[in-house]
Amino acid sequence: MNGKAQKKVVRAWIVNFLGAVGAVLVAEICLSFFSSEKGRIPVPVADALPAIANFSEETNKVVKVKQFSEGFGVAHFNSDGSRSTGNDLINDAPTGLIIGDSFVEALQVDDRDTMGAVIERTSRSELWPVNVRQFGWGGTSSATYLAIANSVKKRWNPRWVSVLFNEDDFTEEAISGGRFWKMEIDPIDSTLRTIPVERTGSRFDSVLSKVGLTSGDLRELLNHSNLAYLAVEKYLLSGNAGGAESSKPTAADKLQTLNKAKTIAKAVIRGLKVAYGEELLIVYVPQISVTSSLEPDTTESILAEVCYQEKVQFISARRALLGLRERRGVLGEGFSNTLPGYGHLNELGHQAVGQEIWRAVSERGRNNQ
């Protein structure tokens, strides 16, 4: 190859390279419209508890988060990590708390569609106004709800506290594998001890660590790139999706899991009762698909039984969510880009659950008057 031809080849490769770089830049810009730094949501780690306890509207900095994997939602979070309801605060109105995981974080729906927003609107229309603070973080467990109890109670002095649970909330993994906090159950007296999980620094430090990037400029660069974040996250999630098949549980395994779930549920409800007192309301949100019936699932039955024994108010959103399906032909879970009835609560689901919570707490309020 002579010099001229060589130059042409080099030029061709440079042009190709520039084309590829241009595409990456365009992708980065496009993705910035659809995603944002989910990691900027204030999290309830041990160091942040004083900030939750001393939250002030004056110094509040709102964080905006967008997501498009389940529907398309724009969410706003306060600096104490609570999800905005999009409604104005009413001075002197009592406060209710909703605590839970990603179902309360509710990234999938807009602020005014969250269950807290529904409760505020309903209560105000009934001339019995309340302000609702919603504390939810994806991947958290009961340990986190216990860990933040003192802080939120101190700051908000709530009239009622709703804690949301789902089907998988009383497994061994939910107890030991939660974000921010995990817990241990004393085998003798079934008391709980919350333990902080090692704090992660940046928005996807844990993701980067899994692929071996623990320090350096590249890590910093990736930390600010939506494209890189999505790419790495996708890689890791794909790996998990294609993981080894788990063996089918035997009858003995099932019994053991059931007994374990009972023990965990008992300890959790006791712990929450001690932490939040008489104001506690346990809310169960089942997954309602097209084939679901009124028959409660195992977790629901366990939770209802334990709450009854511990004298804690319990409601299930099953009837409300089934009502949506039977009366209106819609499902309260799932979005236009997910399967029918699978995933998080959509705006109709939030509405149904919100109204159920309000019905329970308003009834309790009337009874107490």
Binding site: A5, K8, V9, A12, W13, V15, N16, F17, L18, G19, A20, G22, A23, V24, V26, A27, L227, L230, A231, K234, L237, S238, N240, A241, G242, V290, T291, R325, G329, V330, L331, G334, S336, N337, L339, P340, G341
Partner: protein, 506 residues
């Protein structure tokens, strides 16, 4: 090993690296043979024996057929080959179906046999059958090289789900060097990406929705069920043509050209045209090895219609051991016969009509064809007739109620498929001469010119199109830009996990 899995991508790259490192054509062919065996054994090593046994029998039979001048002897060897191939296919695919039906007839429950259907058995059986029949018909010489014959049978890109390649197409390509070629890599890579796009971004997304609705059609509203049927129509096209694209692209990079299998079937304006565009290699196989031997259209009208019906009925049964598939085949056979009858009594009156009337009729024909094909897919996808019945009652509005669900990916997929087909039609029109309808899509002249302008400058001259595939202008800024965006989109927006291709079950 599914084409869209990381395991396959790793396997393919390893094969390519060794292929380009090896010095001679023979060593490369040997590598491909070993790789193909590994690819097949990845599912279940024992099934390699199943692949080897009929192949060896066919190899011997074909030589015996060629060596003999006596018709009787030649026919006996052919019969031996046919019985072996079809016997194995029948045992693995239809034994339980047979038992089930006998059991229903006599009213005594009979236990099913524990038979696992070997992957791709329907495809490689048809491939080897065509080889022996072609030798019998003296259309091709029998391969004297067991080595080359084994490679033809086991060639991994098309081993498990086609395209069904005939020996007359494949064996002459054995003289190719199989060395590295930039143009082939650039073309092959784009065809693979097209396949990945169809499979991962469209078919797999729609599969989740379709599976859910077809599992409980009675629980969903009529519009939701109808949208699921439409979704399946798109899913099966993107799934199977996506698989074919990947097979063709992979093969292109290795150095072999496989026949095209899909040519925008949903633009067909008649059922006959649909089968010229859908699963082309199977349609041609059925035509050459079933329809023609049955008499084709040479024995009068009634026999022609009957032959069409029989061929499609058997084609349906080939897809799967279920009455649903048979019924689906029967529907298509009836439609083909009716269309043939209609064409014969109507003659060619198209040219006398005004363009607006002709356009409207073309649209109506297209719509009716698409509607029929989509309707027939209900039987193809449903697990039984009861499910098909529920779906049809729902769609017809006889059974109302149920959950309404709008599935946004269906809208995107429909738009993508419509745009893709639109581009295809525009490009095909460009080359359409008044006398004849082009069989292959040729890109517009401006695209060829601009592409050549860029390409010739860099000394790499792949065609701007490869068969029916329209390609990006590579190398160049625009090409690299679009290609990178394309790869990123596939990676980021494909669903998690790997779904097997629909046609793997056949």
């Amino acid at each position: 090993m599914v084409f869209t899995s990381l395991a396959f991508i790793g396997f393919f790259f390893t094969v390519l690296v060794f292929l380009y490192l090896l010095p001679t054509r023979t060593s490369r062919q040997f590598l491909l043979l070993v790789a193909s065996c590994y690819f097949y054994a990845y599912w279940k090593p024992i099934y390699l024996l199943l692949l080897a046994t009929p192949s060896l029998i066919d190899y011997i039979c074909s030589i015996k057929i060629e060596e003999s001048d006596r018709t009787e002897t030649r026919f006996r060897w052919l019969l031996f080959s046919l019985v072996t191939n079809l016997g194995l296919l029948s045992y693995f695919k239809y034994t339980n179906f047979f038992i089930e039906n006998i059991s229903l007839l006599i009213g005594i429950p009979v236990r099913h046999l524990d038979i696992v259907l070997p992957v791709g058995i329907s495809f490689f059986t048809f491939k080897t059958l065509s080889y022996t029949i072609d030798v019998y018909r003296r259309e091709i010489p029998a391969s004297r090289s067991l080595w080359q014959y084994a490679m033809f049978v086991t060639y991994f890109p098309e081993l498990v789900a086609g395209p069904i390649v005939r020996a007359s197409v494949f064996l002459p390509q054995m003289t190719r060097s199989l060395g590295f070629s930039w143009p082939r890599v650039l073309i092959g890579m784009q065809i693979i990406l097209l396949g990945f796009t169809k499979k991962l971004l469209i078919a797999d997304r729609l599969a989740m929705f379709v599976d859910e609705i077809f599992a409980h059609p009675g629980d969903f509203s009529p519009t939701t069920v109808a949208s699921a049927v439409l979704a399946y129509s798109i899913q099966i096209y993107c799934d199977f043509s996506g698989y074919s694209d990947i097979a063709i692209g992979v093969s292109k990079i290795i150095g072999f050209d496989l026949p095209e299998n899909f040519n925008m079937p949903y633009i067909a304006t008649s059922i006959t045209e649909f089968w010229r565009r859908w699963h082309i290699t199977l349609s041609r196989w059925l035509r050459d090895y079933l329809y023609v031997p049955l008499g084709g259209n040479r024995k009068g009208r009634f026999r022609t219609y009957t032959n069409l019906f029989i061929v499609m009925l058997l084609g349906g049964l080939w897809h799967g051991a279920s009455w649903n598939f048979v019924f689906w085949g029967g529907l298509h056979g009836t439609a083909l016969a009716v269309h043939k009858f209609w064409r014969e009594i109507r003659g060619n009156v198209e040219k006398d009509r005004k363009p607006i009337v002709r356009g409207s009729l073309t649209f109506i024909s297209w719509f009716a064809t698409f509607l029929f094909v989509t309707f027939a897919w209900i039987f193809f996808r449903s697990r039984d007739f009861a499910t098909s019945k529920t779906i049809i009652l729902k769609i017809c509005g006889v059974e109302a109620g149920g959950v309404s669900w709008f599935y946004a990916p269906l809208l995107w997929a429909t738009i993508a498929v419509v745009i893709g087909h639109g581009i295809g039609i525009l490009v095909a029109r460009q080359a359409k001469s008044p006398q004849s309808r082009p069989k292959r899509i040729v890109p517009p002249v401006w695209l060829c010119r601009s592409y050549k302008a860029v390409n010739y400058r860099f000394g790499i001259k792949p065609s701007v199109f490869s068969g029916i595939y329209v390609l990006l202008p590579l190398p160049g800024f625009t090409g690299a830009f679009l290609l990178t965006l394309w790869i990123l989109a596939i990676y980021l927006f494909s669903p998690f996990g790997t779904n097997p291709f629909i046609y793997f079950q056949f």
